[in-house]
Amino acid sequence: MSLDALYQEIILEHYKNPRNFGKLDESRAKAHYENPSCGDQIDLQILINDDNVVEDIRFQGRGCAISQASASLMTEAVKGKRLDEVEKIIESFTSLMTGEGEITVELGDLEALEGVKKFPVRVKCAMLSWTALKSLLEREKKS
């Protein structure tokens, strides 16, 4: 069953024990994203240091295994990375989900989410936290 590809052990593990779950200092910018069709929610905060490195990142959310595991895996993937590397990770992960564009970096554990591609209605779930991250980074760039 392709379900096994969707709900891989690592995804269920991150769903049950999300990494980087919680809040940063209230003063940090926050991105709140919701999928209106299903109600999945994500709150994301990020701390970027003077060397343009993601020093810390936290999320809070409610939702399905795919949306919450994707958020958890995302925080692990980008924490400690330079912003230009983070952008490449975002692009590559988006390619993994949509089949368009190129995968230019090693995605590591994130590859466990590849199975989502076969369930088009669930791609939105997997992308929720990534949309939040993109908008946070754009805001950080402007400020």
């Binding site: 379900l3 709900y7 269920l12 109600g39 929610q41 399905c64 295994a65 795919i66 369930f119 779930c125």
Partner: protein, 407 residues
């Protein structure tokens, strides 16, 4: 248990496999499947007598007009409406409620008036009133929902003070609860308020007698009762319909048009501007014939038995919680399973050929009341059989196992 399984063969769509398994369709509260007789009625209209109604003087048009108006009469008899001209064909329940909000309410409700709704309403019976409130100072009040998922009517009398319209659902699409609409209507009338009932989940599943309910407006959809999509019904008392301004302007709804003004047609045409959904209305007429042949008493009895059996078997799953415990209920059953999100449940069930709904069911305020984002919902119709409950329960156990829980 009442056996209506012989009717399954009338539904071509139910004969298929999904993901290699026989389809188990448990999303009937969203839309019901169509029997062959309905599909053929629509097909026959397009093949044999497609033409416009009410204006052509040729054979096809006369036949189409007759079929369209017969459908109106069939629907009227089906819900015991006193007069068939009180049946207005719309697109769906949503449009029917909006019609009342845009015509009757905008004509007769003033700033300071109140509308009484309930906490278990579908968005289609909330948003039209929010839109009205953006235009004028209307107060919206809500009958609370108890933890068991019933309307708390203990304060109804005081809630009705100053209310001009009560708009409530006949049966909750989330909780399955059937509300005491006759009693609510009587109380509302005693307080001088008009009553609108959202019957989207009721008319498909139980005998509905509008003369017994005695409400003023009643709205429902064709597609949830074996009819085509794109046709719904607004029923209202004729004296109310006659004093309401038209909804949409155009052909069909006029008596006489001048360059600078027009006189409107009498009901029902006054509310059916433009070429109506002719094929769909004829299809709905066929659906009404079909349901009448089965007997709505039989449909209702079967579904109550199915609901009771499904709830009993679902409760055997550890960590499963059912929302709505009313004794007066239909077969729409919402639930959640601890540790497995409803969307994951829906995906895992779909892989086993089982169609359920997961989400907020267009009732976000009710979700908040129960402190959930979404629920899973299995909803049954007369063509569902007890074996499908067992398949659902096994499917849910599979989902739990996939997520690493013991079942």
């Amino acid at each position: 248990m009442m056996d209506l399984s012989r009717y399954r063969k009338d539904f071509p769509i139910l004969q298929q496999t999904v993901k290699g398994r026989p389809l188990v369709y448990l999303d009937n509260a969203a839309t019901a499947q169509k029997p062959l007789c309905v599909i053929e009625a629509v097909d026959q209209y397009y093949r044999e007598y497609n033409s416009n109604v009410h204006r052509g003087l040729h054979t096809l048009s006369e036949r189409a007009t007759r079929a369209y108006e017969e459908a109106r009469e069939k629907v009227a008899r089906f819900i015991r409406a006193p007069r068939s001209e009180e049946i207005i064909f719309t697109r769906n329940t949503t449009e029917s409620i909006n019609l009342v909000a845009y015509t009757w309410a905008r004509q007769f409700l003033k700033s300071g008036d109140a509308i009484l709704l309930s906490e278990m309403e579908h968005h289609s019976n909330l948003v039209p009133w929010h839109l009205l409130r953006e235009e004028r100072q209307i107060e919206l009040r809500f009958i609370p929902v108890t933890p068991a998922g019933e309307l708390d009517l203990s304060q109804l009398k005081s809630l009705l003070d100053g209310v001009k319209l009560v708009a409530v659902t006949h049966m909750s699409n989330v909780l399955g609860t059937v509300n005491p609409v006759e009693m609510i209507t009587a109380e509302a009338h005693a307080a001088g308020a008009k009553v609108l009932i959202d019957g989207a989940q009721a008319v498909p599943h139980m005998p509905v007698d509008l003369q017994a309910i005695d409400c003023d407006f009643y709205a429902f959809s064709g597609h949830k009762m074996c009819g085509p999509t794109g046709v719904g019904v607004l029923w209202a008392k004729s004296e109310i319909l006659r004093e309401m301004p038209p909804f949409l302007g155009g052909g069909e709804m006029i008596h006489e048009v001048f360059l600078d003004r027009s006189d409107y047609a009498d009901i029902p045409n006054k509310f059916e501007a433009g070429t109506p959904n002719i094929a769909q209305a004829i299809g709905l007429g066929a659906a009404v014939d079909y349901l009448s042949e089965i007997g709505m008493d039989n449909v209702w009895r079967h579904e109550q038995e199915m609901a009771a059996l499904a709830i009993e078997k679902l409760k055997s799953i550890k960590g499963l919680r059912i929302f709505g415990e009313s004794a007066h209920r239909g077969a729409a059953i919402s639930f959640e399973i601890e540790g497995v999100h409803p969307h994951d449940l829906a995906t895992i069930l779909d892989e086993q050929g089982i169609a359920i709904r997961a989400g907020h069911h267009c009732a976000q305020p009710l979700m908040r009341k129960f402190n959930v984002q979404s629920t899973a919902r299995a909803s049954f119709y007369f063509y569902n059989v007890p074996e499908e409950i067992d398949i659902l329960v096994e499917g849910l156990k599979t989902a739990k196992r996939m997520f690493g829980y013991v079942t």
